[in-house]
Symmetry: C2
Subunit: 341 residues, 2 copies
């Protein structure tokens, strides 16, 4: 059987050069070009279609990493990516297959078959969705809300970073489960989208609302039963102030502090005692065994339009750093992805 | 049947006059003397033997009370008390019975039978123990440690305010359950008692140890699995720093902030996410149904000497405020009680 012509083998990868102490910038990174080797038996070459940028990656740039092991200096960073198989020496993969991997931050790569997850044929029509609503952020929203926070129908759920890749799914899943949902976002556009498209009951623009506790009490007059925590600092403080007895906090992230040496302070933690609140941190990589249950419920919701997604697509491997930085300056809307090639 | 002579009927009660904004002082309170009425059918007169003073009472002096409803101004405050029945017009109570009630902060009172819990005859020999190790603080320790924090044998438990009425019981119960125990206290005397008498593995004097996180990492070289939170602020910060993945925090109180308008700040809460920590507040009055299970296990421990108790006894109703204030300046050792009459 004749081999096809070898595909392009020049790969471009983002390396971490030094660990940022504050907001990352170009000097902390470098794009490195290298030639991929010939495939060995069992290996597959993938050309990436979309790369994911996610807030957790900031934690991995620290020496004492959060969420997963620290990125090594002078190595390609990793992250979610959807790509297309272009050459295969493994029987389970054929050119044209769409695959999910953790080999992001690069345009192409060679991997062993066990590093790849084959996606259904339909994924070719919406590959980036597997980095967002049907991928890690969607699973984070689903598991964190339903298994960690455990809202009951009729309860009020408050979601920070509510139009983000995780937050928008939390909002919509909570609505589908019969909850009243209040979101916090940083622009009126994002607020309007949540209200008009996602059916969220009330949205706060935290940049213009004045006192966040007062705004939350107004938006949630019956108090907050569940807080899905993506932001920390002022948002956590306000959520505690507005929370009902026996409230639950799913602590998914605290992005407001990711670029500071120390996090944002919170000084009303005594309310955790007084209101008998349960605050539970989680990291979704501990719970990938929930993926099947998640997709069984989520895919029909997406197909029926019950759950909507927004993306900000950055174009080309060179834009990956801008895409990542957009997570911290609010310049993205929904899930930020990088389109390759 | 002839009535006995009426016992003394002049009662002295501590009233709250104004709500303290910071550390309470004499001006916020007043001792009021009043005459008790004749007993009606179903009523009992009790002369208190011991009054309890507990940190939670500070929360009840606030307008927006914590732990239980706010104390009303110009009314006798309430709190745990052990007393002796001196007159009864209820068939279940006879003069000489030892009873537990919430009618503390006064030397005698008239109550209906359902406000009183009759204690076993043996309680007459150790009445104050039912305000401490065998009472609300002991139940708080038992339930908070075993049901909220759920330590496993071999795990390391960190306890703040470790020689206090709750903390000393947490330390000793954790030892009986096979844990390694590290306590934090504010004096070398207290540290020595925990080490010598209570079998605690390591004790930190937080006033002299320098950096609390470093001291805790040294005292708990394998990290902290469970933190029993009585203090807040620096102690919570250090516990989070030293905690292992999947650590649990039983949030019982945060006394370091009780006299401040806002609590002590904590700025490393992102560790709740990164370490997947569960922090759970609780208030023991929700769990009084656990009392039987508690006493079944605790009474034999106390009788066998497996659990030891320390008390600081303040003498006379006039000393009740000093007893209460000793909770905040560290001038007590173990359970602070007020002996009446």
């Amino acid at each position: 059987m004749s081999q096809p012509d070898r595909p392009a083998t020049t790969a471009r990868e983002w390396h971490l050069l030094q660990r940022p102490a504050a907001l990352p910038s170009a000097e902390h990174f470098q794009i490195v070009e290298r030639q991929l080797a010939e495939l060995n038996d069992g290996q597959v070459q993938v050309d990436n279609l979309f790369l994911s940028v996610d807030p957790y990656m900031r934690g991995r740039m620290r020496e004492n990493a959060v969420y997963a092991e620290a990125y090594e200096l002078n190595q390609a960073m990793t992250g979610g990516a959807v790509g297309r198989v272009v050459e295969s020496r493994h029987p389970d993969f054929s050119p044209g297959d769409t695959v999910l991997s953790l080999n992001g931050w690069r345009d192409r790569f060679i991997a062993s078959a066990q590093e790849l997850q084959k996606l259904p044929a339909s994924a070719a029509q919406m590959p980036s969705l597997f980095l967002g609503t049907l991928g890690m952020p969607g699973l984070t929203a689903y598991f964190g809300l339903l298994n960690i926070a455990q809202p009951k129908a009729g309860e009020t759920v408050f979601v920070s970073a509510a139009s983000g890749a995780v937050g928008a799914n939390v909002c919509q899943i909570a609505k589908l489960k019969g909850c009243r949902v209040v979101g916090s976002v940083g622009s009126d556009d994002k607020a309007q989208w949540l209200l008009d498209e996602c059916g969220v009951d009330a949205v706060i623009n935290y940049k213009t609302c004045g006192d966040l506790t007062q705004a939350l009490l107004t938006a949630a007059p019956e108090g907050v039963d569940v807080y899905f925590e993506n932001v920390g600092g002022d948002h956590l403080q306000a959520a505690l102030n507005a929370m009902n007895p026996h409230g639950r906090i799913a602590a998914c992230g605290m992005i407001s502090g990711y670029n500071d040496a120390v996090g944002q302070g919170v000084n009303n933690l005594m309310l955790i005692v007084g209101k008998k609140i349960r605050m539970q941190g989680f990291i979704i990589s501990d719970h990938f065994d929930q993926q099947e249950a998640f997709l069984n419920e989520m895919v029909p919701w997406v197909q029926s339009g019950a759950i909507k997604s927004r993306e900000t697509v950055f174009d080309g491997i060179d834009s990956a750093l801008d895409a990542f930085l957009s997570l911290f300056n609010g310049d993205h809307f929904g899930k930020a992805v990088v389109k390759i090639g």
